[in-house]
Point group: C2
Chain length 428, copies 2
């Protein structure tokens, strides 16, 4: 048997259900791996081996609650957990203990998951203090943000699964940099209640894993009654839209090469690749996403600003005080543009079986001070479409460069099936 | 000096700042009133006199934090408070104590408010168990829902101010039935973090008070940097759109008479009244709001459904399991219609100084089993526009019948100023 901490969630789950692996053994293997590696990777903001093991033992003694039963899941430290502190990487919450479970954590417990520990994040999953986390593929590089710890923990085999949140690109970007699978589902598919609010129009939960199948296990928990469970995705003959997005001029050679290679391998597998150029209406959409994020952030961070401004990073102070001077007319224009583009994208996407796009501008930057650009993510976040990061391709420095698969709102399962097929083609 | 509990918030605030009234004396007067009346009205789910008085005494000993300093505020019992239990009128939370402050409660504390107690609500501010609260104007009638306790407490002088939430019509409806002022601000203006999630597209915080000026005090706390502080609203010569909405066929004689009387009195005060008929695009908007509410409720109540379905009311089980069979295509159609109508309403509203509409289908129904219809509210909730309930008119049974003033998104202050002028005209 392989080392349990290196297994995918799906494989570990099958072994647990067959009685060939215990939740305790899996949890212990993950804890050992984290203990050996986290001095360098620093993925964890809170990890209590006794608490994780106690959950695992209780689950081993209980009837199976389904495929997630006994699987350790890392929780981004902006998501409330009743039995672990939630610190938001902010001195504001250094001493507090908010005794509640977020909606997503409650769902995971009902599904039998081991709530393993809390993963490092950018301050309030927004801006300001960076996570101390390093990219496990090259410790001199950022893992991306803001779900830095979740992406690194999964990539480095500390846990098979982790939760993140995305407001601009905080799930897909770190997944791309760390070379793991991630799904940012359709906005609204999973409740974000109990995760720190940043921008209600954009905030979306997301999941990290080491296989597409594992993401499917998470999706099953959060969306038990899919309406898009259509025929299996068949790559041969599929019509794939290659969407460079209005941010293409920010794509570095690594991303340009990855998109070209990805498209080539899909074509080699029999897919029909077609350039998908979004109408000019979409040109301002990335900027609109940033305006909405900042303007909605005013309301989100006003309570902290009023209570203790000295505990907020300069960048968050700027958001809370609208230092960039976004007017309400700018904001409603951005809302209305987003509404029009969502409807327009539904028509555009109809003529494709899947859409392929960049995940990041390139490989993970060197250093921990700049966590990379969300230029290729914010567009989809605002369009509310499901996005999967597909790993497998590498840049000139040997670092992972992911590609995004997306499609119409609520086609999450279909997009995930396409992404799985793409992943196989990339690896071919 | 009048009895302190009968004062408006603004008057009490002026006396407190002048040193002529203490927060403790005001809080004690409110507690005495609640003690005398709540056996019949049943507005409070949790009220601890010692805790309220301790806050008041601490505030009396501290420098003023502004106009809300020392004013008791009732908190709807779906909004988290770190020092009081949050029970959601659900057996699910009967024994729990979620130790966190919602964003709005944190803001109120920073502004010096006394977090007075928790007000009764419909189960999870959604559907299911009704509040035990009675309408203070006629104990045989409903106060409306789901912010039942907040509206009744303010109407019956237990507190000058209270917080509610609105997903369909849960702020404006009870305000209309109980004859108090209320403001449901523009969606996104105030963070709903820490209030129970029902439908992210619709959930909006709201405030109850006994004067328009008092609502302005609350608005100042939640939106300290208004962008719409224009010239004072002048009723004489103002162009007022009278909007019967696509739900007009549900208006009872009481509401038809109130709208006619209201319009007459505005005309008598020199306003120009013009029929505002929404384009046919808006016809399906009330139904779209209900579809979005129910579909988004699936994700919101899935955690409770998975954890303990036996503790959920039948109606909530129906939402969590999508018993009404809403498809994702229905949902995205509803989203896209809402987006188009928001943009269209911005153009329509531009040619009016304010828009007048019904608040409810009529007077508060007899009995506590049916809390009334949100038919005239859900439209505006989905359009994200600010709405003020203006009290002052009565129906054939002597019960209050409110009217709604609304306008473009983020014109909250302008709408409130118009509403204040309308209130004076109605009373003339």
């Amino acid at each position: 048997m392989a080392e349990p901490h290196r297994m995918t969630a799906a494989r570990a789950s099958r072994l647990i259900r067959a009685g060939e692996l215990s939740a305790e053994a899996l949890t212990r293997a993950c804890l050992d791996r984290a203990a050996a590696r986290d001095g360098e990777v620093r993925a964890w903001a809170f990890l209590d081996p006794d608490l994780a093991l106690a959950q695992a033992r209780a689950l081993d003694a209980a009837p199976s609650r389904g495929p997630l039963h006994g699987l350790p899941v890392g929780i981004k430290d902006v998501i409330l957990t009743r039995d672990m502190p939630t610190r938001y990487n902010s001195p504001f919450h250094a001493g507090s203990w908010l005794a509640a479970d977020a909606a997503c954590v409650s769902l995971l417990r009902s599904a039998g998951a081991v709530v393993f520990g809390k993963t490092e994040t950018v301050e309030f999953a927004a801006t300001g203090r960076k996570a101390p986390t390093r990219n496990p593929h090259d410790l001199t590089r950022t893992p991306g943000a803001s779900s830095s710890g979740s992406a690194a923990a999964v990539a480095d085999f500390h846990a098979p699964l982790a939760l993140g949140t995305q407001t601009a690109g905080s799930v897909i970007r770190p997944a791309s940099y760390c070379g793991v699978w991630a799904l940012k589902p359709t906005w609204g598919l999973a409740s974000t209640e109990g995760a720190k609010r940043f921008a209600a129009t954009l905030d979306t939960l997301g999941w990290f894993a080491r296989s597409a199948e594992d993401l499917g296990l998470m999706l099953d928990v959060f969306d038990p009654d899919p309406s898009d469970a259509a025929a299996p995705f068949e790559l041969r003959g599929a019509r794939i839209g290659v969407c460079r997005t209005p941010s293409w001029d920010q794509a570095e050679p690594a991303t340009r090469a990855a998109l070209a290679t990805g498209a080539e391998r899909l074509a080699a597998a029999g897919a029909r690749l077609v350039d998908l150029t979004l109408p000019p209406l979409f040109d301002d959409l990335p900027a609109a996403a940033m305006r909405i994020m900042s303007a909605e952030g005013r309301a989100a961070f006003l309570p902290e600003y009023r209570a203790a401004p000295e505990l907020l990073d300069e960048a968050l102070l700027g958001i809370a005080t609208n230092a960039s001077g976004i007017s309400r007319a700018d904001l409603t224009d951005a809302y209305d543009l987003a509404g029009a583009c969502r409807q327009a994208f539904a028509s555009v996407a109809e003529s494709f079986d899947a859409v392929l796009a960049p995940s990041t501008t390139g490989e993970a930057p060197v250093g921990l001070g700049f966590t990379g650009s969300p230029a290729f993510n914010a567009l989809w976040t605002l369009l509310h479409t499901p996005c999967v990061n597909v790993p497998g391709l590498l840049g000139p420095n040997g670092m992972p460069v992911g590609l995004t698969v997306t499609g119409p709102r609520f086609s999450d399962r279909r997009v995930l099936e396409a992404a799985e097929a793409f992943g196989r083609a990339f690896a071919a």
